[in-house]
Amino acid sequence: MGRDISVLPGGGMRMLKNALSIARKEFADAVTSKRLWLIAGIFLLFSIASTYSTSFGFRIGARQTTRPMVQIASSIASATAYMAPLLGIALAFDAISGERERGTLRILLSRPIYREDVINGKIMSALAVTGLTITISSLAAVSVSILLHNISVTVDDVSRIGLFILFSVVFSFAYYALSLFVSTFSSKSSHSLVISVGIWIFFAFILSIMSSFIATAILGPPPTRALTLFNMSRRQFGNFTTPGGATPQELEEYLNYVRKVSEISGTIQAFSINYHYTQITSSLFSFVAGPLGFGRGEITIASIPTILSTRLIDIIILIVFPIVFLVASYMVFTRRQEK
């Protein structure tokens, strides 16, 4: 059975007008909501606090670095990795289910508008809100760090931070899209919230823990003698050339094991959008984030074009993920009937 089609002459403009009216109201609601300010506030506190521990490192000289801003930004990035998804979820979990629950959806849908207008308006507003919130709070965190720790910033730093903000907005929006999808078929916002946060916890924490479990389950326990020896040598600040009794073969065996573990767990974690985001931001700010944090140290920073090309797959996944869920939300919502 055919439904109204909105591509009538002049329909496009009218549709945009209605979607914009809804977007304007949604935007006003969002920026005046406690929820948004709470998340932005926690993010600021969280990121400024973590820049302190980084800058403390500078002062005692343990980690002398030529790029202090990059180090600072990487601690802001670790805060964003948690807060961006929560921001997306906060904006989306009751976007549709809340209107359904309160009966405002019926009032909206009895206007001469299309169901598409409702979801388009919400998406437009969410893009603006995630964009502004992440940009403003990241810039605020960066500025505060600059003032507090008295560091200088280069043009390259600025480009990295710009890219970081862009990817963070996409990441936040990915969670928005995911949670919007859940919201379109939930009749209760509380269900929608629990499901969305559950998925976030799974992607952010459980999957990475699970992945190392699975890897060990597949590979069996690490070669014991190599492990003991390795731990001994590690205690001497990673001086691999004084193995204290371990033969080069034993060390090689151990490193192979570690490599395999990280390969398997990386494959499993590839299902998590968080993983891809972290891959991109950690490349931008040049710390290597393996499952064991292995190999962290003085590496020269890759250039931006190099990062963009080596992380292309991660970037594509980061962008495709929200698109898939937006399309899914769109399909579920526009085909649903509301009594």
Binding site: G2, T104, E338
Partner: protein
């Protein structure tokens, strides 16, 4: 209204069927509805809980799609042209709500925007609508501070914003106090005088029955009857008899032999100064000529046909006609 003529009908449905769910849990909420709502009528859709009123109304404005059959509202098809319908129809849905954090006026101005009211007129329209439902003095109060009845009134107000040709009210008087219900009836009468068609659903017959010019009675997804109120009265009378009430002067005795001798009279009841006559046929004119001559002339104060109550009509059809 003769019916049949498309131009004279605000709503016309044909073999409308709605089935909810699929597989195991199928519910046939509408089972072949042919409903005709004449233009400029006040049409009551009466039926018990779960009879399909809300389902039918939701299909008319395009919130739900029919499983089969078709329906036209103001000449537009409900599946293909529902936006055109919603441009011209004001709806008070069931179980609606407002944005609690916004004021009544802000809510209405926002909805007027989506109704396509030009920006220069939105506030004026919103205030007029609030005035019509007696909420003008609460225009700037947040909806979260409203009582249930006030929200219901606001619900009526939002349906007026686009100045619709047809108004559809689903259970309009639920939660409203008696004064509010009376005000609502006046509002409906006024809108009807202005030429608007009003379709309202309810199971509270006593609250809105008296303002209807037309009605349909629905049960388990089927229309048991529909037509003008006069037609409904007549068919109930024809089945259950015509009832007349004769009031006599206090203290006087009314001779009943002559009335009893009218062939179609079934039953005569007398109490105090009131005589009720039940007859198989319409004996209004016979009774009239009787009571205007002696000896009745001096005893009888009034003679009135007793119209069946809505409850009576409703029960009559719900019990199978």
């Amino acid at each position: 209204m003769g019916g049949g003529e498309n131009m004279s009908l605000a709503v016309e449905t044909e073999k409308l069927v709605k089935v909810y769910g699929n597989g195991k849990t199928m519910v046939k909420a509408l089972d072949g509805i042919d409903m005709k709502v004449p233009k400029a009528s006040v049409f009551g859709l009466f039926g018990p809980n779960g009879s399909g009123k809300t389902t039918l109304i939701s299909i008319l404005v395009g919130l739900l799609l029919p499983t089969s059959g078709s329906a036209k509202v103001l000449g537009f098809d409900v599946t293909r042209e529902s936006v055109e319908i919603r441009r011209r129809v004001g709806l008070l849905p069931e179980g609606f709500g407002f944005y609690d954090h916004m004021t009544a006026l802000e809510n209405l101005v926002f909805l007027a925007t989506l109704d396509g009211v030009p920006s220069s007129q939105r506030e004026k329209r919103a205030l007029e609508a609030l005035e019509a439902v007696g909420l003008k003095d609460r225009a700037d109060a947040k909806v979260s501070t409203f009582s249930r009845g006030m929200k219901q009134r606001l619900g009526v107000a939002q349906s007026l914003l686009k100045d619709p040709e047809l108004l559809i009210f689903d259970e309009p008087t639920v939660g409203i106090d008696p004064e509010g219900a009376a005000e609502f009836r006046n509002l409906v009468r006024k809108m009807n005088r202005d030429g608007k068609t009003i379709l309202l659903s309810t199971h509270l017959l006593y609250e809105v029955g008296m303002i209807c010019t037309h009605a349909a009675i629905i049960r388990e997804g089927r229309l048991l009857v529909q037509g003008s109120v006069d037609e409904l009265y007549r068919s109930v009378r024809e089945a259950k008899g015509f009832r007349y009430e004769i009031r006599v002067k206090p203290g006087s005795d009314m001779p009943l032999q002559e009335i009893r001798s009218i062939p179609s009279v079934i039953e005569i009841a007398q109490s105090d100064n009131r005589v009720t006559v039940l007859s198989k046929n319409d004996i209004g004119s016979i009774l009239f000529s009787l009571v205007t001559k002696n000896p009745y002339k001096d005893i009888v104060e009034s003679l009135t046909p007793v119209e069946p109550s809505w409850e009576e009509i409703y029960r009559f059809y719900q019990e199978g006609g």
